[in-house]
Symmetry: C2
Subunit: 215 residues, 2 copies
């Protein structure tokens, strides 16, 4: 009987995620679910990305955090609508929270919806939110062993971004280890290396995004 209860909860979650996806697709909005450890640079990357996509591609953001509106404040001056979702003690965003967040957006005025998930390499990976693609960030200070240690997160990624590459040399970061681990787990998704601080490599990420939007 316990199994039935759990199953029905997960089924309801997946159904709601599909409803979100159908609604976003019908409105011509591409939804990107961005996931990573805390402090990998999700918000900083969006601060660079949202203006770079204009005027051709208009963004909005649903940003998830346990507490505070700090990320939404950082994204508030970019001319894009931003909705902060506070999960309380919740370790990931849920499709119900996305459905609620979408109500605050004018989907006809948006081309791409960035969903900035709670900083966590484990739980968010288990929940479909209704996104069209998952983008995973991995920052150099986290160490070059994280792909192997958190494989589920990387398995479903459409793109993987190695961030904070300006620190790579100082940290003696082993890119080959990452590429080798990824080849066992996800050999399809492109691995893009970039630094939001110096701007190195961000153009390839913008180009990849534009290609997804115009598909």
């Amino acid at each position: 009987m316990r199994i039935d209860v759990v199953k029905s909860v997960l089924e309801a979650s997946d159904t709601l995620a599909q409803e979100n996806r159908d609604r976003l697709t019908a409105a011509g909005v591409l939804a990107i679910n961005i996931m990573s450890a805390p402090g990998s640079g999700k918000t900083t990357l969006l601060q660079k990305t949202i203006p770079a996509l204009l005027p051709g591609c208009r963004s909005a953001v649903l940003v998830g955090d346990l507490q505070t509106t700090r990320d939404a404040e950082r994204l508030g001056d970019l001319g894009a609508p931003v909705v902060q979702i506070n999960t309380g003690k919740g370790c990931h965003l849920s499709p119900a929270e996305i459905a609620e967040g979408i109500k605050h957006l004018d989907l006809d005025a948006i081309d791409v919806l960035f969903i900035e998930n709670v900083g966590n390499m484990v739980c968010p990976a288990a929940f479909d939110l209704g996104e069209h693609a998952r983008v995973i960030l991995l920052s150099t200070p986290e160490g070059d062993d994280k792909v192997a240690k958190y494989p589920t997160l990387f398995q479903g990624a459409a793109a993987i971004l190695l961030t904070k590459t300006d620190l790579a040399e100082l940290l003696e970061y082993d890119r080959d280890q990452v590429r080798q681990d990824l080849s066992q787990i996800n050999s399809v998704a492109p691995l893009m290396e970039l630094s939001s601080k110096t701007g190195e490599g961000v153009d390839a990420w913008f180009a990849w995004l534009r290609e997804q939007v115009t598909r």
Copy 2:
């Protein structure tokens, strides 16, 4: 009825945690539950700490990861017993896993048991494992906003370690923001700043640990 099921699971977890604590206390072992985001430097800190505590204080480690034995391998040459616990898709260590891990250790030959939890700033905080104290790591590259964004993790800490301070200046890390946020959440636990790479500040951490062990 669903509430009853959930409650009984949590009660069973807490009961098992208390049994772990009673067993460790009776054996004269101090158990420290170390928690942080992925890549904050838990394993590197233990690599420095375990030899530094010898000969007076003998360590053992239970190390949790979803996959791989990489952390246990890194800790394998220090002369301390190490047990790797793979949680699969589990986002935190559980008291049942600790009870199982302890079976592999000779508690009479140990003074301090380090439990290196799964890298995750959310879920591990919700589970008592039977530890005597919680130590939380926070690394400078994660950003100075993490105390406010993940308050539950820091509320129960006996000590908080700001790691990778060798990068603080380069990253323009705002220590005052961290101290201000901590003053709202946990004003009792000492905040110790250190770099495992340069060795700066590690002596204060070793001294704090020795004081806990001899209490």
